[in-house]
């Protein structure tokens, strides 16, 4: 256990020291060394916890008696909550967004009141470590550490290109580490007040990072993110209050173990789910995540794809045993499934790389949400797998887009035309990441497959329909992106590689992680996930994907790995003739120009299809937000009203 505290306070220490080191060299040194040490500590902690928890089928929970240290920490948390409230108040007044103060107040005040008046439930376990926590620690630690290292080179180039942005990299990186600290706190806490505190910190950091450039658009978007997340925080508060007053309980684990013993359980569950919707940017709260894309890429990769937005679905996965066959479950699956489908439609019409990534993040989070709402072990298994695969692949995608933007000055997918010639290494890394998102035999697809089976078995027709249509649209927008990367431009040269070495190392590490995950997911499931689910749901969970299928998929993986070798073999004894591509006989020599009727040379270019008239934001964004909002309102009322009656 001391390792956990060392990890926690070490990360906090890095955060503070980064904030105060204003020289670039010193700061970058601290970040690199700090990240590496943090990753080592993280892995060491996970190894220890894994051993101590008894190979996955047990868990560690810590009651932390009322010692002076715990009391002091409780006071620190209270002080922290007040500080957050004041910070939001000051910034809101500064920018004239008064409603945020109110939202922050109604979220924070009741929890503070609970603590101050001594109504908070005592003798509850404060921390809980089980195999899901360990997996989350691995994701947060490894992906987070790598992204922090990447941010060194990125910020350097970013400020080189964006001279109009005030240079505050120490603030940015310090916030990244502070965020990681909060994430560690969030996933290891079992006490809901503690969780809520860390939850609010992540919201606030996200708000600060979105507003990093201090431009008008950034400020507007950051406040949108803030109010939506604060609204979700209010949902969390209601759940805490309800649990404290009705059940005299402050522990999430105990709430879960109550199961269906009490009918009113739907109320806190629905409130927590509501909080999770805002955090995980489910429709109708999806717009803040799009706005968050104005922030520099490392924060998009870390907060808005790999970890922070995962906090919402993490909470849903935790409470998924409580959602079996009740209205809260129906609400979560409906919103999740709908978001999965609608966001993937919207992604089709976007050509800005980061926007596509944002929509696809929303869409995939929707799928995870839908899986956790089913409340069956197999579906929750799929949710956890999706969470892991998505965190790694999507953060890699973000880092790639960020690096391409710094190298070529554009993050538009159309400008990535022919990347395989211009930046072959980058194209390879991106291909792995994209394939990891949707193609057999890579990760996400495996999880989607398990999800499909679970939906059918739980007789959820609507979800199955959403899933099959959503898969088709997902395939379309990733496929056309891949197609752009793969276009081989004739007579084009490799661009000079100006991407920092450290960024390359990070991207290669993540690529290796994607492939490793694909190759080892059955073991991962067997060692970590299935025992945990067996315990949580109280039934024996066997293999989700049969070993025959796993074998076939491994064969496919090996075959794909052998493809380049085969290609090389073909190149060695080739007899074919190389010609230009067909342009009705008028190819001007480089595949991108043709000779017109007057003998002049004109460029020719075919962009991808965006189908703006069918799937454009103007056409379907507002209707789908309205539909989702209606779903949330109606189902919340039904769930809570039904429970009260």
């Amino acid at each position: 256990m001391p390792l956990l505290f060392i990890l926690f306070f070490f990360t906090l220490l890095i955060s503070v020291s980064v904030y105060f080191s204003r020289s670039d060299a010193l700061r970058e040194g601290i970040v690199t060394v700090g990240s590496i040490v943090m990753m080592v500590l993280d892995v060491a902690f996970c190894a220890w916890a894994f051993g101590a928890a008894g190979y996955g089928d047990g868990y560690l929970s810590y009651f932390l008696p009322e010692t002076a240290a715990v009391n002091a920490f409780n006071h620190v948390i209270m002080a922290g909550e007040i500080f957050l409230f004041l910070l939001i108040t000051v910034l809101s007044i500064k920018h004239g967004k008064w409603y945020c103060i109110l939202l922050s107040f109604i979220g924070t005040a009741p929890v503070l009141w609970l603590d101050l008046t001594g109504r908070a439930v005592e003798n509850a376990p404060m921390l809980k470590i089980d195999s899901l926590t360990i997996l989350m620690f691995l994701v947060v630690g490894l992906v987070g550490g790598l992204i922090c290292i990447y941010s060194n080179g990125y910020l350097h180039d970013y400020h080189h290109h964006h001279t109009d942005v005030e240079k505050r990299p120490w603030f940015f990186q310090s916030m990244l580490f502070l965020f990681l600290t909060a994430m560690y706190g969030l996933i290891s806490s079992d006490n809901m007040s503690w969780m809520f505190f860390f939850w609010e910190i992540t919201s606030t950091i996200s708000f600060l990072l979105i507003g990093y450039t201090r431009k008008e658009e950034a400020v507007t978007n950051s406040f949108r993110a803030l109010w939506m997340n604060l609204l979700g925080g209010f949902g969390f508060t209601v759940a805490i209050l309800y649990s404290a007053f009705v059940y005299q309980n402050g522990s999430l684990m105990e709430l879960i173990s109550m199961s269906e013993a009490k009918a009113g359980i739907v109320i806190p569950v629905a409130c927590l789910a509501f909080a999770a919707f805002t955090k995980s940017a489910q429709m109708p709260f999806s717009r803040w995540l799009l706005g968050a894309m104005v922030a520099p890429t490392p924060s998009s990769a870390l907060l808005h794809s790999a970890t922070m937005v995962k906090a919402g679905v993490y909470l849903l996965i935790r409470i998924s045993p409580l959602m079996t066959g009740n209205l809260a479950g129906v609400m979560v699956t409906t919103i999740g499934g709908f978001t999965f489908f609608a966001a993937s439609l919207l992604a089709i019409s976007q050509s800005d790389g980061k926007k596509v990534l944002a929509y696809s993040t929303i869409s995939n989070l929707g799928l995870i949400t839908a899986c956790s709402g089913v409340g069956e072990p197999a579906a929750t298994w799929a949710a956890i797998m999706l969470l892991l695969f998505h965190a790694v692949s999507k953060s890699l995608m973000f880092l790639c887009v960020g690096a391409v933007e710094n190298a070529t000055g554009s993050r538009d997918i159309e400008d990535m035309h022919g990347l395989i010639v211009k930046m072959p290494k980058m194209a390879f890394v991106m291909t792995v990441a994209i394939c990891g998102m949707f193609l057999a035999p890579f990760g996400m697809l495996v999880a989607k497959w398990a999800a499909l089976k679970a939906y059918i078995d739980s007789n959820n027709v609507l979800l199955v329909i959403f899933l099959v249509f959503g898969s088709a649209t997902t395939m379309f927008y990733w496929g056309k992106w891949l197609g752009k990367l793969f276009a081989v431009l004739h007579q084009s040269e490799t661009l000079r590689d100006i991407i920092h070495k450290s960024e390359w190392y990070v991207m290669y590490m993540l690529t290796a992680l994607v492939i490793t995950l694909c190759a080892t997911f059955p073991f991962l499931g067997q060692i970590f996930i299935q025992p945990m689910l067996s315990m949580e749901f109280g039934v024996q969970v066997g293999q989700i994907i049969s070993s025959d299928d796993v074998r076939v998929m491994l064969m496919m993986l090996i075959m794909i790995a052998l493809m380049p070798v085969l290609g090389l073999f073909l190149l060695l004894n080739r007899k074919e003739k190389m010609t230009m591509s067909y342009m009705a006989g008028a190819n001007a020599g480089d595949d991108r120009h043709f000779v017109d009727a007057f003998g002049g040379i004109r460029p020719s270019y075919l962009s991808n299809w965006y189908m703006d008239e069918m799937f454009g934001e103007k056409k379907i964004l507002i209707p789908s937000l309205c539909v989702a909002a209606a779903f949330v309102v109606v189902l919340m009322i039904l769930a809570i009203g039904g429970a009260i009656r």
Binding site: K577, A584, G585, G599
Partner: protein, 152 residues
């Protein structure tokens, strides 16, 4: 098996008056049913075995004819369809006409006529098939593809 069992056509109009083109297209209609011989009008040089050119080559189409020819995989045969394609026809001395197709690329079969009759064209294609097979044999023996130029 002889590769002439499956000849795929590419038709290109290099400044014809369209008279021959109408006849060429007419001969690929169901009425004449050239698919009996496995002939398909592909329109894609990369899939084609036989290139049918109509009209004398002019300054603008010269490069195009060359490029299309270069994009056809070996073995390949060129048919000059109509008198203009054979030697320039009535446009022979025109300022912008190079003459027949053979001034630009090697031609294997000449099918005269103004306009060329579908029957004559089909006959020309059948003659071209024999050359196609010969070229294939030559290719196997690593010889050059330009075997001989046959006047039909």
């Amino acid at each position: 098996m002889k590769i002439s069992r499956s000849p795929w056509l590419l038709h290109y109009d290099a400044s014809s008056c369209n008279g021959c083109d109408i006849e060429v297209l007419a001969s690929t209609t169901p009425r004449f049913d050239v698919e009996r011989f496995g002939i398909i009008n592909t329109g894609n040089p990369k899939h084609a075995d036989i290139m049918v050119v109509t009209g004398g080559v002019n300054a603008q189409t010269k490069q195009v004819v060359r490029q299309l020819y270069s994009q056809m995989p070996d073995p390949k045969v060129v048919i000059a369809a109509g008198i203009c394609a054979c030697d320039g026809g009535i446009f022979k001395d025109c300022y912008n006409i190079s003459g027949g197709v053979d001034t630009v690329i090697p031609v294997d079969v000449y099918v005269p006529g103004c306009a060329v009759r579908p029957e004559a064209l089909i006959d020309g294609v059948v003659k071209a098939l024999a050359i196609l097979d010969e070229k294939r044999e030559a290719m196997k023996n690593h010889a050059t593809c330009e075997v001989h130029l046959d006047k039909a």
